[in-house]
């Protein structure tokens, strides 16, 4: 009789542990998948920041410091949707959009940087704003 119960116990315990092991593995797989997704999302936003900084550096390199010839020159920066450049109202400068480049109507992110822009009328430096869309 004891031998019979022992056989049942063995089956039940084995079944239980198998289920438990499977559950642990499923949890680990699920969590691994979740972390992979989170990492992908984080990497994506990190990449976006890198791209935006890179885009800003390229624009500064292209237009110079202070920025000039903005109206007459187009600087194409890849991997972003577009950008705008405007002067801010201060001193002899007014709120004026000097460049509106690209198609960014559907962009999810907008980053703002401040730069100095040459006022070609009087040679002074204006405070300017560059908006990068990605």
């Amino acid at each position: 009789m004891f031998r019979d119960k022992k056989g049942i116990y063995t089956i039940l315990s084995t079944f239980f542990f198998i289920i438990l092991a499977v559950a642990v593995v499923i949890v680990l797989i699920y969590y691994g998948g979740f972390m992979a997704s989170a990492e992908k999302k984080a990497s994506s936003s990190m990449n976006v920041r890198d791209l935006v900084l890179d885009a800003k550096d390229k624009l500064v390199y292209c237009y110079g410091t202070p920025m000039q010839n903005i109206n007459t020159k187009d600087c194409n920066v890849s991997l972003i949707d577009g950008y705008t450049i405007q002067t801010i109202d201060y001193g002899s400068c007014s709120n004026t959009t000097l460049k509106d480049f690209g198609d960014y109507a559907d962009s999810k992110n907008r980053f703002v940087f401040f730069v100095s822009i040459l006022n070609e009328t009087d040679g002074t430096n204006c405070l300017g704003k560059v908006e990068v869309y990605i």
Partner: protein, 477 residues
């Protein structure tokens, strides 16, 4: 037993697996979080740094200077509000307010704190007229100088050094300071003057014409003119190598006379021992030396000092202390009574407080009047009525030319507090702060060195805190 062993060993394996799983699950997000936070930090650092550069490059419209230069000048001249002239019109720039407006535009209102402060040491140099009339001033300063410098240094954090000089050939005049462990040295005429002017000379005394006063046929001792020569004394101290070009030096010349004396040379020629009131009359009635008045001579030395400091010592600020007795301003110059070729002393006290019937003065000049010394003691020295105002004028000219300030010492006991206030006030004006300081807020810190004008590599440090809460990041994203 087999069954129990199976269960227990299985449980152990499962527990180990769970523990390992939990550890891995904890580490992964932390690593991810740190990596993301680092990237975010780099992004914000670079962005805010670039934004600050843009702000400092902006041209301020009235002064035509970049904003970085304007900030440095504001600190250097310790003027948060600066005056400019442009196209014949006068303008005022509130540097602090304009800086704040630009920071609001770039970083957002209430999202930052900025402080600009001069990074420099401060050296204090006191140049005392060595005459006995200033002994009380010397004693007070000796007793209080250490506490003044300690309190200012503790409050401001700026390192301060100090030294005292006394215009004299008598080293005992330094004893008061040496007994308080204050460095003191005497300066005599051999150090103050040269014999010739030579504007190509390397010696500042020849180049800027600090020559011995031209005194001829005089019973006068050299000490009578070099002891009160606070202008030449200040020039000497400013020329010393111990004034570090990278520090800011404050000179405090202390005197109650015109530079090179308030008494004309001819008053020293005659022996007045039997008729002291004649000497008194000479002192109060004469302005002229042989070729120039004592006022003109003093002004020439002060002007030479200004030329020297502006040309070669732009890190030196002068704060003259005018110890000319206020009581002399109250001297009643009307009551000398002139008899035939001699003065008669008129005692108001002995005449019931009444002035003489004839208010004539001894000297023919309109401006020359007498003054009464009630006890007619020889110890009382009285100067020409124009002397006091000219001491003030010349000291003020020197102060204004060198970005300093005049200290009027109407009460000798005020000396320590006035010196303390002067230094504290200067340091307060060499700091500019805008925005809200929050020591506990998460922030990105951006720093810049702004080169101060003038000789030497003095810098002002601009430290900007940009708070990095969600609302702050919205400025960038």
């Amino acid at each position: 037993m087999d069954f129990a062993e199976t269960i227990v060993s299985s449980l152990i394996v499962i527990v180990i697996l769970i523990l390992v799983g939990v550890i891995i699950m904890n580490q992964a997000p932390k690593f991810l979080f740190h990596k993301s936070a680092e990237q975010q930090q780099v992004f914000l650092d670079e962005s805010y740094s670039g934004n600050l550069n843009a702000l400092l490059d902006v041209t301020e419209p009235v002064s035509g200077q970049s904003f970085g230069t304007l900030l440095a000048n504001s600190i250097y001249y310790h003027q948060p509000v600066m005056d400019f002239e442009r196209d014949g019109a006068a303008y005022t720039i509130n540097v602090s307010k304009e800086f704040e407006e630009l920071l609001d535009e770039v970083f957002g209102e209430d999202k930052y704190y900025a402080k600009v402060s001069a990074q420099t040491n401060l050296s204090l140099f006191f140049i005392f007229d060595g005459s006995d009339s200033l002994e009380e001033e010397r004693r007070l300063l000796a007793q209080n100088l250490k506490s003044i410098t300690d309190s200012v240094q503790n409050y401001s954090g700026v390192p301060i050094s100090d030294q005292v000089f006394v215009l004299s050939d008598n080293i005992t005049k330094c004893n008061l300071f040496l007994s308080e462990n204050i460095t003191c040295a005497i300066i005599d005429d051999s150090e103050l003057y040269r014999d010739n002017c030579d504007d190509s000379s390397a010696d500042y005394r020849e180049k800027y014409c600090f020559i011995r006063p031209n005194v001829t046929d005089s019973g006068r001792n050299a000490i009578d003119y070099f002891e009160p020569d606070w202008a030449s004394g200040s020039a000497y101290v400013a020329s010393l190598p111990l004034i570090d070009p990278s520090s800011i030096a404050l000179l405090f010349p202390v005197s109650d006379e015109l530079s090179t004396s308030s008494i004309p040379d001819q008053c020293f020629k005659t022996d007045f021992s039997s008729t002291p009131w004649h000497r008194l009359a000479c002192d109060v009635c004469s302005l002229s030396n042989n070729s120039e008045t004592i006022i003109e001579r003093s002004l020439s030395y002060v002007s030479n000092l200004v030329d020297f400091l502006i040309s070669e010592k732009q890190n030196v600020l002068v704060y003259p202390i005018n110890a000319h007795p206020a009581s002399i301003q109250d001297c009643d110059y009307n009551y000398f009574y002139g008899g035939r070729n001699e003065l008669i002393q008129y005692s108001i006290e002995q005449n019931g407080g009444q002035p003489p019937d004839n208010g004539r003065t001894y000297c023919g000049e309109d401006v020359c009047k007498g003054c009464v010394d009630y006890d007619f003691s020889d110890n009382y020295v009285c100067f020409h009525p124009e002397v006091g105002a000219n001491i003030t004028f010349q000291m003020e000219f020197l102060a204004n030319s060198t970005r300093g300030d005049l200290i009027l010492l109407s009460n000798v006991d005020d000396l320590p507090s006035k010196v303390n206030l002067t230094i504290s006030d200067l340091l307060a004006h060499m700091i500019l702060e805008v925005g809200q300081k929050n020591d506990y807020g998460e922030r990105i810190v951006v720093e810049r060195n702004l080169l101060l004008p003038g000789l030497g590599n003095n810098y002002a440090l601009l430290r900007l805190w940009v708070y990095t809460g969600e609302a702050s990041r919205a400025r960038l994203i």
